[in-house]
Amino acid sequence: MKKYAKLLPFFVPGIALYLALFIYPTVTGFYYSLTDWDGLSPSYQFVGADNYANVAKDIIFRKSIVNNIKFMVAVVIVQTVVSLLLALQLSKQKKVNVALRSLFFVPTILSSVSVGFIWTFVYDPSLGLLNGLLEAVGLSSWTQNWLGDAGIAIFSIAAVQAWAHIGQMIILFVAGLQAIPEELLESAKLDGATRLQLFFRVIWPLLAPAAAIVVSYTTIQSFKAFDLVFTMTGGGPAYSTEILSTYIYNSAFMNYTFGKASTASVYFLLLISFITFLQFRALRTDRVSY
């Protein structure tokens, strides 16, 4: 007991702040979700579970869940596959590889507002780089209104999200690859394994834990995306890029329905906890020993 008393001063400031400005607000958020508060007026009614039924019926809320899933699946696939393929090229500790890993990391340190502006420009239908390039190589029929077309806008933003974070995933995969004992690879090569056999029989099973981390990090990171969507489309056109976090933001700070927005936050938290739980189980079963 005496020992804990000595450690108390180290715990108190951080825990006090955390309880006051993290745990307490999160709990009051649950409380707001049961009210019809508009966020401005001093009084509000307690409406019980009404918001939960109303938000669940809201077409835009449902649409934003679907969009969130589309966005997440697209980002996870692109980000995982591309970063794995690049990491396989870059795992050797050569100078040029180290330089390329740094280059690929640069978008990670840019603000998402900057990245959003850069890509709004790249995607601009008449002045932008992407349509310009397509026209230059004779693929004019492929040009699109990348952010203005409700059918593809969410995927256009997903590509940017992947562009911005692949560098970080490469680092994770490279760390996983460098942890594989060199002798294992050498002996497989001596046994006459082809590059493909080497990958599927030796590298992939040992890389599975790193892959599990990449997939779970990417899943959660893309599920709670906000800045890029907010900067590039704000949820439009026609709610085609509205995701849960922009839905919460808009219903709280544009429409002043704090109660409803708090309810959407609770749903959001439940969904993300469910995803995290699934990831956690996957991570546990994916452990490989050698």
Partner: protein, 271 residues
């Protein structure tokens, strides 16, 4: 052989996918507006710093820089101090208490900012801290505590226990063990955590947007969002803003790459 060349081709393509947009942004920021409309994707004929000049003349850019620097350095500094204390406490208290404190913060890891943005916004307004950099700093420190406690206590677990035990036998108190042994030994870890947090706070949009509104209080990302309104599709000026905002981060990255990269590695492991 084919695979090898395909791999190289992929590397080349992705390097272009990163470099070309960044270079086109730089080039565009150096064009005059008529030059830009005449040839939006061409190389600048002559270098013009006009866009940067009009940005700094038309906007209190130095003020935005100052706000971003104040908020980021104060947040990261306080964060390291508080979470360093907690991580040390977790390391030193037995299994049960350590696990309980760690668990308390692990709950916070699960809660994304978007979930508590409404109650935090409301609470900060009640406290009378809205439109204050101090309020933003305190909120940012508290929101990032779970992440940095997670990172630092993960790092500190790898420190050799014998050194602390030896210090204890020599009669050193907890405070001495922390300041003279644990923090110095953790210096590279503290630097990696700082770099990771620095990127998050410098680039944060959500909490500055919720808590700040006066033009004299804006941080850089928030100010940039407002440029868009003022320079609607005036891409050269807008992208000059991107260049100005990104340059300090890129410069810092070039010098401290090692810490940025190991911080990002440890930060992603939270899954």
């Amino acid at each position: 052989m084919v695979l090898k060349w395909l791999g190289r081709l992929l590397l080349l393509l992705f390097a272009a996918a990163i470099l070309v947009p960044l270079l086109i942004v730089l080039f565009t920021s150096l064009k005059t507006t008529p030059q830009f409309y005449a040839s939006p994707l061409g190389l600048p004929e002559s270098l013009s710093f006009h866009n940067f000049k009009s940005l700094f003349d038309g906007q209190p850019m130095w003020g935005y820089f100052r706000n971003s620097i104040v908020v980021t350095s104060a947040t990261v500094g306080l964060e390291l101090l508080l979470s360093g204390f907690i991580a040390y406490g977790i390391l030193r208290s037995g299994k049960r208490v350590g696990a309980a404190v760690f668990g308390l913060f692990a709950i916070g890891l699960m809660v994304p900012s978007q979930v508590n943005m409404i109650p935090i916004y409301t609470f900060v307004h009640k406290l009378g801290w809205s439109n204050s950099l101090t309020g933003l700093i305190i909120v940012s420190v508290s929101v990032l505590l779970p992440l940095s406690v997670f990172m630092l206590s993960g790092f500190m677990k790898t420190l050799p226990k014998e050194i602390l035990e030896a210090g204890e036998i020599d009669g050193a108190g907890e405070w001495t063990l922390l300041v003279r042994i644990t923090f110095p030994l953790s210096a590279p870890y503290l630097a990696a955590t700082a770099a990771f947090l620095f990127v998050i706070v410098w680039n944060d949009l959500l909490f500055p947007m919720l808590l700040l509104n006066g033009k004299d209080k804006l941080t850089l990302p928030l100010a940039m969002l407002q440029f868009r309104g003022e320079y609607i599709t005036d891409y050269p000026v807008l992208l000059a803003g991107v260049v100005v905002t990104a340059l300090p981060m890129v410069a810092l990255f070039i010098f401290l790459q090692r810490y940025f990269i190991s911080g990002a590695l440890a930060g992603s492991l939270k899954g």
